[in-house]
């Protein structure tokens, strides 16, 4: 992440963007001082959205830059933004996915899926591998791959054990383990 200092200001850190969370951006601070606009307000008040280096940014800038539109009180906007930041911090809609042996990581949006089968199918397509079916007692059989995730506590868990909603809210990153390491997870 390049840091562009100009007049002592770290412009990259304070770059005003409408980009979706989970990208390599510094955490947004919402300061709730009176009469001071939060980032969401400023970014909607005429500052041109430069640098679309974030590939998720696809909303046309013009609309979102209209000051004071839609007509929602600053207080409510601040609350929504604060909530969004929190949700982004812990829920991690966008999580990194690593596959043992792959050269680079990928990123997926967990919210784009509604169930484990959907997620696993997407992962299989993305990495061109087979994960197989989940079994409570045996884990993922019939495959040398096992999908795991790091939860809020920092532990590595097998994907599929908990309710989907709980998984979404606690998953921080995914790792598709391969080969000998997977043997400890159920199938022999």
């Amino acid at each position: 992440m390049e840091v562009n200092y100009e007049n002592g200001l770290n412009l990259k850190a304070t770059e005003l963007r409408l980009g979706l969370p989970g990208t390599d951006e510094p955490e947004r601070q919402t300061t709730l001082r009176p009469n001071k606009r939060t980032l969401s307000e400023i970014s909607c008040s005429g500052v041109t959205d430069d640098g679309n280096d974030d590939h998720q940014e696809s909303a046309p800038p013009a609309k979102a830059q209209v000051v004071g539109w839609p007509p929602i009180r600053s207080y409510r906007k601040n609350c929504l933004q604060a909530k969004k930041n929190e949700v982004e911090g812990t829920a991690g809609r966008y999580v990194k996915v690593s596959v043992d042996g792959a050269a680079y990581l990928r990123k997926i949006d967990l919210k784009a899926y509604r169930s484990y089968p959907e997620l696993l199918e997407a992962l299989e397509k993305m990495f061109k591998l087979t994960i197989g079916a989940y079994s409570e007692t045996e884990g993922y059989c019939g495959s040398e791959y096992a999908p795991t995730y790091e939860d809020k506590d920092g532990d590595w868990m097998l994907v599929g054990d908990v309710l989907w909603e709980m998984f979404i809210s606690s998953c921080k990153r995914l790792r598709i383990m391969k080969g000998s390491e997977t043997r400890g997870m159920g199938c022999l």
Binding site: A59, S74, L80
Partner: protein
């Protein structure tokens, strides 16, 4: 003529009046008028004759000032000697959306100074869109020994230090209501400033504040204020803490919970459920920040008498809302986020036949990628199930003329119709036509309409309809609409009861502005921003109408001949002297 008659005729303005006076003593008239509450009725009464004017002014205890610059505190104090309660509104409404420059004005302090001298027994102050500093709050706290109720809505300029001053000094405080303000939250210690001996609080609303409060102090405060009937907590208060507070306050009529999402044990869940089931007289419920669906059932027993449910900070899904509403048969007012989607609104239509007010706020107002939210289908569903609906605020991303026509057929009693199609200038998404017929249907069918906000692609036809049919309309908000001056002229030429007109980003120019010359004196105010009005047009208006204040807000870098933001209002106090440099009074 005997000497007594001579005296009387000298005292009175005319012999007619002296006859009236002798048959109807002032004290009786004052007594009768003191029972009259609505300020508009009081205004009417004061115009009957001089006697009535005097009786009214002596008996008035509450004064409502809709525009703080329309009158001066000295004038108010001179006319009404016995005021104990004041309601003041300051900045134009569009300041809520950051359209008004900082330091614009509406500072309460000069009012407080006059009140301290003329109304030392002031008890209540309710402010909306005023600037109020910590110094002013402290001045208020120490100047009025009988002070009872402070309500701040959409104000700014103060911090929690000011609240600490109120808590410290106002020994008789019954109400502290801090709502949706720009508060500088320096921490929760202000709550600890209520003395141990203080027990009079009935209304406490600090939902606005973000930082952690001293829960111990709060618990003790709620415990000793036995008359507390309204308690609205902020997000930092957890479920477990809520339960502890409610144990001491089962008689709450209005509850705003804190965060509704802490991890609870089974025992804690049951305790919460049990405590909430004791809150039988609760009629208003709000808060529910981050509400987790699994905890909502704890609320069900407390909902049987609910008339107002504010879920606008709880991102509920449709199923969660439906299950909750099944327990709220008496609901009259409902505020939700559009996360509930059309399915959630269907549940509203099915479960809430007594519903009178619905507000649907957008959870993601700035994200165009969102495919959900609510549509015309949800609004239709509510209109079929809730014939008593008369107040709606609806943010959506699509609407049709046909849907609105059906909606107002189902609910002809609308008094407040505020529809916000979030994409500016968006047509009927099915026919691609302007939304003129939709608002035409609204004004033709809803004869009681007092407030209207329009949106979507609109031609001058919408305004022809409004001018012709909206005979009771008092407030009109317009954005990104209209084709020519004719539109605004229609409104100013029709709408006999128009009081507030706010317009932004419309192609209305000087001809439109100047067509309302006489009208503006019967209105509270006019706001026009990003329209085609020029400085010359504004100067002409100011010259022709000396009893109007014509203020132009300058934007950096804008063309000097254009009047980018114009605010016009009637005033008996003359041009204001506290305008910042960016505001020009013509």
């Amino acid at each position: 003529m005997g000497s007594s008659e001579l005296k009387r005729s000298k005292d009175s303005v005319s012999s007619d009046e002296s006859a009236r006076r002798s048959s109807f003593p002032d004290e009786v008239l004052e007594r009768v008028l003191s029972l009259l509450k609505p300020h508009r009725d009081r205004s009417s009464v004061s115009l009957v004759c001089k006697d009535w004017y005097n009786a009214e002014r002596w008996s008035r205890t509450h004064v409502f000032i809709g525009n703080c610059y329309s009158v001066s505190p000295e004038i108010v104090a001179r006319r009404f000697p016995r005021i104990r309660s004041v309601t003041l509104k300051g900045k134009p409404r569009f300041s809520d959306f950051n359209l008004v420059p900082e330091n614009w004005g509406a500072d309460i302090h000069s009012w407080l100074v006059v009140f301290a001298a003329k109304y030392p027994f002031l008890e209540e102050l309710r402010l909306k869109r005023m600037a109020i500093s910590d110094e002013s709050l402290e001045f208020l706290a120490i100047s009025f020994p009988n002070f009872k109720a402070l309500s701040l809505l959409s104000c700014d300029g103060f911090s929690t230090n000011g609240l600490a001053a109120i808590a410290t000094h106002c020994k008789n405080l019954t109400e502290l209501d801090i709502q949706e303000n720009g508060v500088y939250d320096k921490g929760g210690s202000w709550l600890s400033c209520f003395p141990e001996s203080f027990t009079s609080l009935e209304v406490l609303n600090f939902a606005n504040l973000t930082s952690d409060i001293n829960f111990d102090a709060l618990e003790k405060l709620v415990g000793r204020c036995k008359s507390m009937r309204v308690l609205k907590l902020n997000r930092s208060v957890s479920l477990e803490q809520l339960q502890r507070l409610l144990v001491n306050a089962p008689r709450l009529a209005e509850l705003g919970t804190g965060s509704f999402s802490q991890e609870l044990t089974i025992r804690e869940y049951e305790e919460l459920e049990s405590t909430l089931s004791n809150c039988k007289i609760m009629h208003t419920l709000s808060g529910l920040w981050d509400a987790k669906g699994i905890y909502l059932p704890t609320l069900y027993p407390a909902c049987s008498n609910l008339t107002f449910l504010n879920l606008s900070y709880a991102a509920l899904q449709s199923v969660e809302l439906a299950k909750l509403l099944a327990h709220c048969p008496r609901l009259k007012r409902l505020w939700v986020l559009d996360t509930v989607e059309d399915k959630g609104l269907e549940a509203v239509g099915l479960n809430c036949p007594l519903l009178e007010e619905l507000r649907v706020f957008p959870a993601d107002p700035f994200d165009d990628e969102i495919v959900h939210g609510v549509t015309e289908a949800g609004f239709l569903a509510v209109s079929f199930g809730c014939p008593r609906l008369h107040y709606v605020l609806y943010f959506c991303r699509q609407m049709t003329n046909a849907a609105v026509a059906t909606i107002v057929q189902n609910c002809p009693d609308f008094t407040h119709f505020r529809l916000c199609i979030m994409n500016p200038g968006q047509p009927d998404y099915l026919t691609n036509e302007p939304m003129d017929e939709a608002f035409g249907a609204v004004v033709k069918t809803c004869t009681k309409l007092q407030r209207l906000s329009v949106s979507g692609l609109l031609t001058d036809l919408t305004f022809e309809y409004i001018g012709r049919y909206a005979k009771n309309l008092e407030t009109l908000s317009v954005a990104f609409a209209g084709r020519s001056d004719w539109g605004m002229q229609c409104v100013l030429g029709g709408c006999p009861k128009l009081r507030k007109l706010e317009i932004r980003d419309c192609p209305f120019g000087n001809a439109a502005l100047l067509s309302g010359l006489e009208k503006y004196e019967s209105m509270r105010s006019l706001w026009m921003s990003a329209c085609n009005v020029t400085m010359n047009g504004c100067r002409l208006l100011a010259r022709e109408m000396p009893r109007l204040n014509v203020e132009v807000m300058k934007e950096d870098g804008s063309d000097d001949t254009q009047a980018y933001k114009v605010y016009v209002y009637r005033s008996i106090a003359g041009p204001r002297r506290d305008a910042p440099p960016s505001v020009l009074t013509l």
